[in-house]
């Protein structure tokens, strides 16, 4: 082992000069050592080979070249257009059609105008008797067969111009317009062969390889037409192979087929993508869990207007029954979980519905049609996974597989397969990374959607709790205020009654002394009468049995009618006794607010009505017995606050402000509940449109896109 390390040091140049010299001498005298060193050296060479082999294989892979063949034509222009297509343009061919001749001349004219410094002319001397390989400065490789050109000359000159990069094209003024659309180009080039200045026609094909870091799908050949304004229009695209056209994936519709029309039927704004997206993502969890969430929500809400808990269950059963008609209802409900695993989930749709999938099979009109069918199928999720796993195969092949995966959509997928749709050509590394991207994000989205939904429900729970707490506190506060008021009023009434009877009032006469004799029963009677009178708010008329004197405290009824009461969300009428730091809400019976006024107390009145956040106010400085008709007036919040402080001028606490806040909170809570109910109802209503697995929907096959 030690020897091995020494050999390592020697071979890797880790020895000092002295050590090395010693070692060499040792080697010369020891053949065994020498052969050990050699073996180790050769193994190291083997290791190097191994490392370089990996490098070479990697380089070979990345040297992706686009292979193109053309039977005729000398001037060739290559462009990746619209959905990244390449095209050829031919010229100076004897059999060429008239339009092509025009085209060729047009291009030629433009190429001629380009100064040498911008687009240098590359010349190659070609031996016409031998096959020749030519490589241009930018890496276009051409294989020119012997006898390619229509000439007897032994040597010809090949003239090549290339514009593979956007800056070169722009400098050269080569336009990339097709009609009104801008072409995305991967490059253009032109080839000409000349002998003694004369252009030569071609008899054999040239193989042209254009370097491409990323092979773009959908290769097409375009012809160029020069327009009056010196612009070349690229027209008449001819596919090299039948590839699918890529479009922006965001321009496609991957929703369930009935989703948007369903929203419209429910009078929702189906054009608001943000809204439709978030609603759709929120339906994550498929048939079973969605229905469960609904059932739970419905239970919490005590049943929303149109759907009882029962109905929710029935809805669940409906779908489950449809998806597995032969099973018993009871078992089929349980089956929801297993069959739901394979339906197309919103999270899966969400994963593929983004830019990352541009330029893949997903970003095609053809794939959009398949998605619509997957939504219909009870195996949609599995079918989607199958398509994504085999994206490099022809669509028609995948359609055939899909037709066998789900009974409910067999016919439709067969019909699609019959069209023999092709494929896009995915870049292999892009494809591989997309696959892992899909797997990762589908899970993340599913989790996020369910978490968001859970949070929504939790938030609702918290808000409900908060509102309940607040209502409880507000209720206690109100009760406390009313109790205080009662105590004070009772006190006042007792004072007055005693005064009228001419008896000195002793507060709390017997509370702490119930063992002593009660020698003045009259007091006790009086106290009880006043108490009863105050609490029932009826007039006290008491005659002292001993002195024969009377005590009278009058209560008079006061009634208030509010105009247009029904148009308000809430109306509160407050009676505010001037003497006390307190208030009381007048009791509402039907449309009338009433309260009995104590003749000993002066009252103010304040009425507040709410329509949403807007407040309407009316006040009376002196509330007297009788019936009053009042009209509420809209006031801005600041003014209402000012009125509060004015009305409650004698009060130290801002009870009115608290009351106002509580009422506001109550209204907000009511509105939140209403909103929650609406959104839950919408989710329930749209749900059958989204999870239509197995339904007999009369889905007409979409037209073929070209």
């Amino acid at each position: 082992m030690e020897q091995m390390e020494i050999i390592d040091n020697y071979l890797m140049g880790k020895m000092s000069a002295q050590e090395e010299a010693n070692f060499k001498r040792e080697m010369a005298n020891d053949p065994a050592l020498k052969s050990a060193v050699e073996a180790q050296q050769e193994l190291m060479a083997g290791m190097q080979r191994m490392a370089y082999r990996a490098d070479v294989a990697k380089a070979a892979k990345s040297y992706a070249r686009l292979r193109m063949m053309r039977t005729v034509g000398i001037v060739v222009v290559v462009i990746a257009a619209l959905a990244s297509a390449y095209f050829l343009l031919n010229k100076t061919n004897e059999d060429v059609k008239e339009s092509n001749v025009t085209t060729g001349v047009a291009i030629e004219a433009i190429v001629e105008e380009i100064p040498e410094s911008v687009l240098p002319l590359q010349k190659f001397e070609i031996n016409t008797m031998a096959d020749t390989i030519v490589e241009t400065a930018d890496g276009i490789v051409m294989a020119i067969p012997a006898g390619c050109f229509d000439t007897d000359a032994k040597m010809v000159t090949l003239e090549v111009r290339e514009a593979l990069h956007p800056d070169a094209m722009m400098k050269a003024g080569l336009s990339t317009m097709s009609g009104d659309e801008m072409l995305e180009t991967a490059g253009m080039f032109s080839i000409e062969a000349r002998h003694n200045g004369a252009q030569l026609a071609m008899k054999k094909e040239i193989i042209v390889e254009v370097p491409a870091n990323e092979i773009k799908p959908n290769i097409q050949l375009f012809d160029g037409v020069r327009k009056s304004d010196d612009v070349i229009d690229w027209v008449n695209p001819k596919p090299v192979e039948v590839y699918l056209n890529n479009v922006d994936v965001k321009s496609l519709d991957f929703y369930p087929p009935d989703y948007l029309s369903g929203l419209k039927k429910l009078n929702q704004n189906a054009d608001d993508k943000f809204f439709t997206d978030s609603l759709y993502w929120s339906l994550e969890g498929g048939v079973a869990s969605t229905a469960n969430v609904f059932a739970k929500a419905a239970q919490e809400l005590g049943g929303a207007p149109d759907y009882s808990e029962m109905e929710m269950e029935r809805l669940t059963l409906d779908v489950v029954t449809k998806s597995s008609p032969k099973r018993e209802q009871e078992t089929s409900y349980k089956a929801a979980d297993s069959s739901a695993n394979n339906i197309l989930e919103p999270s899966q749709v969400r994963t593929i519905w983004n830019e990352k999938w541009n330029k893949t099979l997903v970003a095609t009109r053809e794939f959009e049609q398949r998605i619509k069918l997957m939504h219909r199928s009870c195996e949609g999720g599995a079918i989607l996974r199958m398509y994504l796993e085999r994206m490099d195969e022809k669509l028609s092949v995948l359609d055939n597989i899909a037709s066998g995966m789900s009974e409910s959509t067999t016919k439709e997928f067969r019909a699609l397969a019959a069209r023999k749709d092709g494929r896009v050509r995915p870049d292999s590394s892009l494809f591989a990374s997309l696959k892992s991207y899909y797997e990762k994000h589908s899970k993340i989205y599913a989790k996020a959607a369910i978490t968001a939904r859970q949070k929504f429900l939790n938030d609702n729970e918290i808000a409900k709790q908060n509102a309940a707490n607040r209502a409880y506190t507000a209720g206690r506060m109100r009760m406390k205020a009313e109790n205080e008021l009662f105590q004070k009023e009772l006190d006042l009434n007792l004072d007055e009654a005693y005064r009228q009877l001419g008896i000195k009032r002793v507060k709390n006469p017997s509370q702490q002394r119930y063992t002593t004799r009660v020698n003045r029963p009259g007091w006790k009677n009086l106290d009880q009468y006043v108490m009863a009178s105050t609490s029932s708010r009826t007039t006290l008329d008491y005659k002292d049995p001993q002195s024969g004197k009377r005590a009278v405290i009058k209560y008079d009824s006061c009634k208030i009618d509010v105009n247009n009461l029904k148009s308000f969300d809430k109306v509160y009428v407050y009676a505010i006794p001037e003497k006390f730091n307190s208030y009381v809400r007048m009791k509402q019976v039907d449309s009338t607010f009433s309260y009995s006024l104590n003749e000993l107390i002066k009252y103010k009145m304040m009425t507040i009505g709410y329509i949403g956040e807007t407040m309407y106010v009316q006040t009376m400085d002196q509330l007297v017995a009788g019936r009053h008709q009042i009209e509420l007036q809209q006031k801005p919040e600041e003014e209402v606050r000012a009125i509060f402080s004015n009305v409650a001028v004698n009060t130290s606490s801002n009870w009115l402000l608290d009351e106002y806040k509580n009422v506001r909170a109550e209204i907000q809570e009511n509105r939140r509940i209403a909103k929650f109910n609406i959104s839950e109802k919408l989710r329930r209503d749209i749900w059958p449109y989204v999870f239509a697995c197995g339904s007999e929907g009369a889905m007409s096959l979409p037209k073929k896109f070209n």
Binding site: M12, M44, R49, K58
Partner: protein, 173 residues
């Protein structure tokens, strides 16, 4: 460029020569796959040679690669037998030496392929990436530097045994 360290970029450039090689091999009863194998072998040789001290190209890169490929293919044909054997190309005497040596190294490579993946990892980290035994021990989850050394010793012994047996029976391979 190969020496400068940007191997990947340099290698990509070299693929320009692939077509010529393919053409030659296909014209001489080889398949496209044969051509690919030969061409990649030639690149491996070039990479190795270019990092060897004292290596100087006496011809153009093109000639060198093509020469190696031609001779490699000739040897391959000879090995397969039955086919017409191409006349040896003696324009480039250095090429024959290179190929002769390289044949031994390819046996060494085969021997290395016969040892375990862990062994190959250790070799790669130590001999190619020139990492310390301590770093290697950490990367491979070995308990200590010494454990890594022992492991490397065992691996090298095994590889050497394999190599010696390959060398004595080259026909079996």
């Amino acid at each position: 460029m190969l020496r400068s360290g940007n191997t990947h970029h340099a290698l990509r450039k070299l693929f320009v020569y692939r077509n010529t090689v393919t053409k030659h091999i296909k014209a001489n009863s080889g398949s496209r796959q044969d051509a690919e194998d030969i061409f990649q072998e030639a690149l491996i040789i070039l990479c190795r040679k270019s990092n060897e001290q004292g290596f100087q190209l006496t011809s153009s890169l093109n000639t060198f690669i093509f020469g190696i490929c031609k001779n490699l293919w000739r040897d391959e044909l000879k090995k397969r037998g039955g086919h017409q054997v191409l006349a040896a190309d003696h324009d480039l005497p250095e090429v024959d030496d290179v190929i002769g040596n390289e044949y031994k190294f390819s046996l060494a490579e085969k021997a290395l392929n016969a040892v375990s993946e862990t062994c190959r990892s250790i070799f790669h980290l130590f001999y190619i990436e020139k990492q310390s035994m301590l770093a290697i021990a950490e990367q491979l989850g070995l308990s200590s530097e010494n454990a890594a050394k022992i492991q490397k010793y065992k691996c090298l012994e095994k590889a050497r045994e394999q190599y010696v047996s390959f060398c004595s029976n080259p026909q079996n391979n």
